[in-house]
């Protein structure tokens, strides 16, 4: 697995600006840590999932009868 680049507080501030939300500045440090941990874990997990496994929210095209 490629090393996941850590998320920095500046990244979080930028992403919040992109999202249009008003970020409470002291939250940025904690959010950066949490995003890094989650992204690292999830991407590590990805290495063990078959490539053809679809996400669990795939669209169901069936119509009700």
């Amino acid at each position: 697995m490629t090393d996941v680049r850590g998320v920095t507080p500046d990244d979080v501030t930028l992403l919040a600006r992109v999202a249009g939300i008003e970020l409470y500045a002291p939250d940025a440090d904690g959010i950066a840590v949490q995003l890094t941990e989650l992204r690292t874990a999830v991407m590590r997990r990805a290495g063990g999932i078959p490539a053809d496994m679809a996400p669990a929210v795939m669209f169901d095209a069936r119509w009700e009868g």
């Binding site: 939250d27 959010i31 996400p55 929210v57």
Partner: protein
């Protein structure tokens, strides 16, 4: 029959037999429960909105119907509490947030509509953690220890039941929010299979994980409530058209030969010793009743919690996005920080988490090939003290949110039915819960196993001293 000062401790099953045979009036029962609320809720603060006049009026109407031979079934005349996440027509529904302080829905949500049609008496709205996004439910306190929280997010429901302030209650469960309050308050609650019960009219936390379900003081009562509220709802496309069995009738038969899985990993790691001991004893009770214990391994378990957080956080942020743009500063600090985190989530992380979830669904299907139910502690801990931020396990500090989610969220990810039933107390008299998990839409087996355990023990009969 229970004395007048004990009516509030009746189970739904007991009360319904008395009401059906006209030995107990719904008016008398409702007044007894309202009296109990007045006596103890000042200390517990479970009720957001108490509907005393409305409840008495509904009880009088129920009494009149029953006197005229129009008995609707086991919930007719039974006082219940509704989590303040659920829309109730004409009654403010706050989600315990400043942002919805004055929100008054025009219509009942589907679950409340079904409860009213069954003749249940709506006592009022009880606390939730703000928008169900947490495990505290402030300002409610735990009836077993007023310094502790009732957990969450259905903490108001859990506390109200444990204190005798209702006979049944509704909850919602995205990562443990029915089961955790059930465990720490010493009552029963079921997170049904995803799609078993309608969520229409209930505030969203995470569309792909949310479930709604019943809570009560006994497993039979949970079964009675589940039969009323389960079923396909054409207004909720996540519900599935699977027949709803008579869950109470399905409790009979015992558990001889039932294959009960006991995980060797994950669910035995970082567990408080009294919890581990209580669950070990509970497994021995199940075995003594004829169940066959089967050791199993949960693959890739270290990814369960990160997968869960990587779904619930961005989905919650998506639900709240428009409001957050303009009024983010009005959310509670804890919820605000989580929603900010969700706004910063990369789509690739979320989508990979959903693929991880699909893999876990398959993994649990394989685990269940040799099982009927799986048994675990509901939580690795007992109730948190108000303001407590972490639990300590040896040299490791774990945030309360993670400790409450880690044994519950795997079954939200897999969409499986999971019940919590009381199985003991810690040395400081805090309740402990046993979690029993089943195959999709096999609530009947899960409830039968929980009922058999409950009937062989007396944990569910213990009452807090208030």
């Amino acid at each position: 029959m229970a004395g007048a000062n004990e009516l509030h401790w009746l189970s739904i099953s007991e009360a319904s037999e008395l009401i059906a045979s006209k030995k107990l009036s719904p008016v008398e029962l409702t007044r007894a429960v309202l009296e109990r609320i007045r006596a103890v809720d000042g200390r517990l603060k479970a009720f957001v909105t108490l509907l005393a006049p409305e409840a008495e009026a509904a009880a009088r109407a129920a009494e009149a119907s029953i006197q005229h031979g129009q008995y609707r079934g086991p919930l007719h005349g039974i006082p219940v509490a509704i989590k303040d996440l659920y829309d109730t027509a004409g009654i403010k529904t706050t989600s315990c947030s400043k942002l919805r302080a004055s929100y008054v829905p025009k219509e009942d949500c589907t679950v409340v509509r079904k409860l009213r049609e069954a003749g249940a008496i709506i006592l009022g709205k009880v606390t939730t953690h703000e928008f169900a996004f947490g495990f505290d439910s402030p300002p409610t306190r735990n009836p077993w220890n007023l310094d502790c929280t009732p957990s969450g997010s259905s903490g108001g429901s859990g506390a109200a039941l444990a204190a005798g302030m209702c006979l049944g209650a509704t909850g919602s469960d995205t990562g443990g929010s029915i089961r955790a309050p059930a465990a720490v308050n010493g009552i029963a609650g079921i997170k049904p299979t995803y799609g078993r019960v309608s969520k229409r009219g209930v505030a969203v936390l995470s569309w792909s994980l949310d479930t709604t379900g019943p809570m009560a003081r006994t497993v039979k009562d949970v079964a009675l409530m589940l039969r009323v509220i389960a079923g396909r709802d054409s207004l909720d496309e996540t519900t599935v058209d699977v027949p709803v069995p008579d869950y109470a009738a399905a409790l009979a038969g015992g558990i001889r030969g039932l294959r009960v899985g006991v995980p060797r990993n994950y669910f035995s790691e970082d567990v408080q010793p009294p919890v581990a001991a209580a669950v070990r004893d509970a497994l021995a009770v199940l075995e003594a009743q004829g169940a066959r214990l089967v050791e199993v391994d949960i693959p890739d378990a270290e990814y369960l919690l990160p997968t869960f957080f990587s779904i619930v956080i961005p989905e919650a942020a998506s639900y709240h996005h428009e409001t957050f743009l303009e009024r983010g500063h009005e959310y509670g600090e804890d919820v605000r920080a989580l929603l900010e985190t969700g706004e910063a989530f990369l789509a690739t992380t979320y989508i990979t988490a959903q693929r991880s979830r699909a893999a876990f669904k398959n993994a649990f299907r394989e685990v269940f090939r040799q099982l009927d139910v799986l048994a675990t502690p509901t939580l690795p801990v007992t109730a948190a003290r108000a303001g407590q931020a972490t639990y300590r396990f040896g040299g490791r500090e774990e945030p309360v949110f993670g400790a409450f989610a880690r044994f519950c969220c795997p079954f939200n990810l897999a969409g499986l039915p999971a019940v919590s039933v009381p199985c003991g107390f810690s040395p400081d008299t805090l309740p402990i819960g046993l979690q029993l998990v089943g195959k999709p839409f096999d609530e009947a087996s899960v409830l039968r196993a929980a009922h058999a355990f409950e009937q062989a023990t007396d944990w569910h009969t213990q009452r807090p001293q208030l």
